[in-house]
């Protein structure tokens, strides 16, 4: 194995994969680019996912728990009130006593309210949220898939698309993992239009971007009720998911598209124990008639109208550029080479958004390999890289997700629909926090892993002499590991 082959293998694993693990450099070194492309042909399913509830089932489970919680709370509240009433004073004789008692009664009411609320809260808390264990198990499955992958290029693409089309577990904890499995994972290497349709029609997305109650002014429900249109969903689809911001669409386009999307909702969980939480098109909410979006008239009825707009958005040249730019920025450089972006955008346009071909175009381009490893890994990539380097293949999801949150990239918990950022400026100030995490992790694994072995076996010695020296001179294995994990060789790709 020549040095340059090893170097390209290391770059392949860091830049496009999840970081080297024991033996992986040797496994890909004969043809790193070919190995990346070959991984895209392997199935992307999660082996253990069959045991996980679907998003609709998860939604129903949580809705059911919430209903029981509300009922219990109400019951407890009433009981507490009754007890208070029994203990309250009754009639007053003279004026002063009456005043005193009025005061007392007001106070008593305050206490009564507090006690009742406390009782309600306690009763509700007695029923645990089923969303969290589902979230944790999904996190475990997803992380272990990243640890098990030979390279992890395909997994990185899943992560990328999951972030591009993010939902937040802060709002829908129970569905966040199933959403990724159902909508993203199955389409990440397919055509963009299919991915888009799957994502925008997914209950988690409709819930996250508040489209459930959105109704046209002239729809049956809109005429009867005071509530109306929600533009949020339509705006984010155009701004974030497809065309990109400032690409020529207008406020009128947003409103028209929002009207198109009215009626995209889910089956209420209480109404249908079989299908509650699944996607449905509700014609009572849908704005009737044709709409003009980006200069094109859409006369379709019902759900087909929205699907037609999504098809056109997916095929729009601005979408090709937006997607190519984001992919290249994520994998290659904060300011990706324009030539590379154009190559990828052209592939997107030429193949009608075949995402596997776009990924192949990226790794086949010399432009994607030329620059120095300037990308600062996101916390999620860095943490998984660290675990992979030790050869560990299983994680404790509580500890793992806790670590991710500590580093500012809680799993499936971005603070806004834009998802987590990809640029160095957003993450570099967290380096101190990373050091604490590296130090902690190093302490935990110091008994099962050796820093020199990681340099030799995991990195095939392809690491800077300064790092080798710092590791060799460290005062303990823990310190050596922490320095290694914190090195630029480990944090940049």
């Amino acid at each position: 194995m020549s040095n340059s082959a090893k170097a390209e293998a290391v770059l392949a694993l860091h830049r496009f994969g999840m970081g080297p693990r024991p033996g992986s450099i040797a496994a890909v070194a004969t043809d790193p680019r070919g190995a990346l492309i070959a991984e895209l042909d392997r199935p992307l399913a999660l082996s253990a996912a069959a045991a996980q509830p679907s998003s609709a089932r998860a939604y129903r489970t949580v809705a059911d728990a919430n209903a029981r919680r509300t009922a219990r709370a109400k019951q407890a509240q009433q009981q507490a009130k009754k007890q208070q009433m029994a203990a309250a004073p009754t009639v007053a004789d003279d004026q002063s006593q009456a005043e005193a008692q009025t005061q007392g009664k007001i106070q008593g009411q305050g206490q009564e309210k507090d006690a009742a609320e406390m009782a309600a809260k306690k009763a509700a808390e007695a029923i645990p949220d089923p969303g969290r264990p589902i979230y944790l198990q999904e996190a475990k499955l997803r992380t272990e898939a990243a640890l098990a992958a030979e390279i992890g290029f395909a997994e990185r693409l899943v992560w990328f698309w999951s972030n591009h089309f993010c939902v937040s577990a802060n709002k829908i904890q129970s569905m966040s993992g199933a959403y990724e499995r159902e909508a993203i994972r199955t389409n990440a290497l397919g055509r963009f239009v299919d991915l888009l349709q799957a994502v925008e029609g997914h209950p988690a997305m409709l819930f996250y971007l508040d489209n459930l109650e959105s109704m046209g002014a002239n729809s049956t429900a809109g005429i009867n009720r005071s509530r109306g249109l929600n533009e949020n969903f339509a705006r984010e689809i155009m701004e974030l998911h497809t065309l990109g911001v400032r690409t020529g669409y207008t406020q009128d386009d947003v409103i028209s598209f929002a009207n198109v999307l009215t009626g995209w909702t889910l089956v209420p969980p209480g109404a249908d124990p079989q299908h509650g939480g699944e996607f449905t098109f509700n014609p009572r909410l849908h704005e009737p008639g044709g709409q003009t979006v980006l200069g094109k008239r859409y006369e379709q009825e019902d759900v087909e109208q929205g699907r037609a707009v999504l098809r056109d958005l997916a095929a729009h040249p601005a979408t090709a550029t937006h997607v190519a730019t984001k992919l290249a920025r994520h994998f290659v450089a904060d300011e990706p080479p324009p030539v590379l972006v154009e190559q990828m955008a052209k592939t997107f346009r030429d193949t009608e958004g075949d995402l596997k071909q776009v990924a192949i175009a990226m790794v086949s381009s010399d432009e994607a390999w030329r620059g120095p490893p300037s990308k600062l890994k996101r916390p999620s990539e860095w943490v998984v890289g660290m675990i992979r380097a030790t050869g560990i293949t299983q994680v404790d999801p509580v500890r793992y997700t806790g670590g991710q949150e500590l580093l500012g990239e809680g799993l499936w918990r971005p603070s806004a629909p834009k998802g987590y950022p990809d640029d160095e400026a957003s993450w570099i100030d967290g380096v101190g926090r990373r050091l604490d995490v590296a130090n902690y992790f190093a302490e935990r694994v110091t008994g099962i892993t050796d820093p020199q072995a990681i340099i030799d076996d995991v990195f095939a010695s392809e690491i800077s002499s300064e790092v080798k020296q710092a590791v060799g001179r460290a005062e303990s294995r823990q310190q050596a590991l922490a320095l290694l994990f914190m090195s630029a060789d480990f944090q940049r790709r």
Binding site: V431, L435, N439, R444, G447, V467, E475, S476, Q479, A488
Partner: protein, 415 residues
């Protein structure tokens, strides 16, 4: 102090398989009159024994360390131990114990390891095997196995305690170990931060500037550090020494609380990091002074929490090797050989510095560089195991410290 996390039954059984042992434990504890406790503290990073216990009576001491030498009439006067040695003033508790004959110091000691790798040095120190790389089990664990089952120190129950998220090698092995992890984790040490900063300065200026900013912020946040007057780089001042002190005291104090329990473990081990004082060592008022102070606080916490069992206790504080006799170009010391071991506890026949002093003239140094070791640390440890835990001498030479037949156990350490 953080909330004590009692080892659960499940944790106790990790790696042991000795399911039956738990129910028998209380009965085993006091089968004989004495009920010894042994706690081993590993100082990771190699301790400057000369900075900890200064040979103030040696005629070559001043010429060796110059104005960095610890002296009896310095700005921070060293504490006189005997005609030759004085203790670092950061350790008043150890000094008090020494005066009460409850502490001894072994000087110019070392393991058989003569190279300069921390990792290998720690392997030799903890495994008890003279060559590096033996990491399967530690001598303290094998010492337990060498004891009879059902004796004072039951080797087959959970008789050992490891402190920290990783059990120190010295106590790992076939005898079951229970572990306690401090709830408040110590963040990366000032030393680790500074090393990383140095690495970044050579490899990644952007990361360097971010890390430097954080270190400065942490220094502002923490208690005013006793900075080394020689150092003009503020990042070298040890930020967060208050946290280090708290961690040392918490970890050691907790270990003591478990060891003091009638049915608790009888031996324990923990490691303290941060002793690789290769720059700005500051024996009198810097890094080393602060760390020794934290260690002194840990010893006080052990004494307090041991209660009555302190009289049956020995604490052995050891390190993988020493540091160079001379100060290096960055006001620190490099990896050396001979160093000190601290022994404390009510079970000791203490109040002595035990040394076969080799002298400090260039020709008397090992390779004209290190304090020459004249006492094999294994002799000290074997003496403690034989006379305190009552491990049979022939097993000490074969099973506990393999190939150490020519290293006689040091007698008279315990009372």
């Amino acid at each position: 102090m953080s909330i004590v996390h009692l080892p659960t039954r499940r944790e106790l059984l990790v790696g042991s398989g000795a399911l039956f042992a738990w129910s028998q434990m209380p009965r085993l504890a006091r089968a004989e009159g004495r009920d010894p406790r042994l706690l081993v503290i590993i100082l990771r990073g190699a301790l400057d024994g000369l900075g900890a216990v200064a040979p103030v009576g040696d005629p070559d001491w001043m010429s060796l360390r110059g104005d960095r030498a610890l002296v009896l009439d310095g700005k921070t006067p060293a504490l006189p131990l005997d005609s030759l040695f004085a203790l670092n003033p950061a350790m008043p508790n150890l000094y008090r114990l020494y005066k009460n004959r409850q502490a001894s110091i072994v000087h110019a000691t070392a393991t058989p390891y003569r190279e300069r790798s921390h990792f290998d040095g720690q392997d030799v120190l903890e495994s008890g095997v003279a060559r590096p790389g033996a990491t399967g089990s530690g001598w303290l664990n094998r010492a337990l196995l060498a004891l009879e089952s059902g004796g004072r120190v039951d080797p087959h129950g959970s008789r050992a305690l490891g402190i920290g998220s990783v059990t120190p090698l010295v106590v790992r092995g076939a005898a079951p170990v229970m572990t306690w992890v401090p709830q408040k984790l110590l963040s990366a040490s000032a030393d680790t931060q500074n090393r990383l900063l140095d690495l970044y300065r050579h490899t990644d200026p952007k990361l360097a500037s971010v890390l430097q900013a954080r270190i400065k912020l942490a220094a502002l946040d923490g208690t005013p550090a006793m900075g080394d007057p020689m150092s003009d780089d503020p990042t070298l001042a040890p930020p967060g020494i208050a946290r280090v002190r708290a961690y040392f005291a918490d970890a050691a104090g907790t270990a003591a609380r478990y060891l003091a329990k009638p049915d608790g473990p009888r031996v324990g081990a923990m490691g303290f990091v941060g002793w690789d004082t290769h720059i700005a060592e500051g024996a009198a008022s810097g890094q080393l002074f602060n760390l020794l102070g934290a260690l002194d606080g840990a010893l006080a916490a052990i004494e307090t929490n041991m209660g009555e069992t302190w009289h049956e206790t020995v604490v052995a504080v050891v390190t993988e090797f020493g540091r160079t006799a001379r100060i290096n170009g960055t006001q620190g010391t490099d990896h050396g050989t001979g160093t000190v071991a601290f022994l404390a506890g009510g079970a000791l026949a203490g109040g002595r510095v035990i040394a076969d002093w080799p002298g400090l003239k260039p020709a008397q140094l090992l390779e004209d560089r290190d304090l020459k070791p004249t006492i094999d640390l294994r002799a000290v440890l074997k003496g403690l195991l034989r006379d305190h835990l009552r491990v049979e001498e022939n097993l000490l030479a074969s099973a506990v410290f393999p190939d150490s037949a020519d290293v006689r156990p040091m007698g008279g350490l315990v009372g």
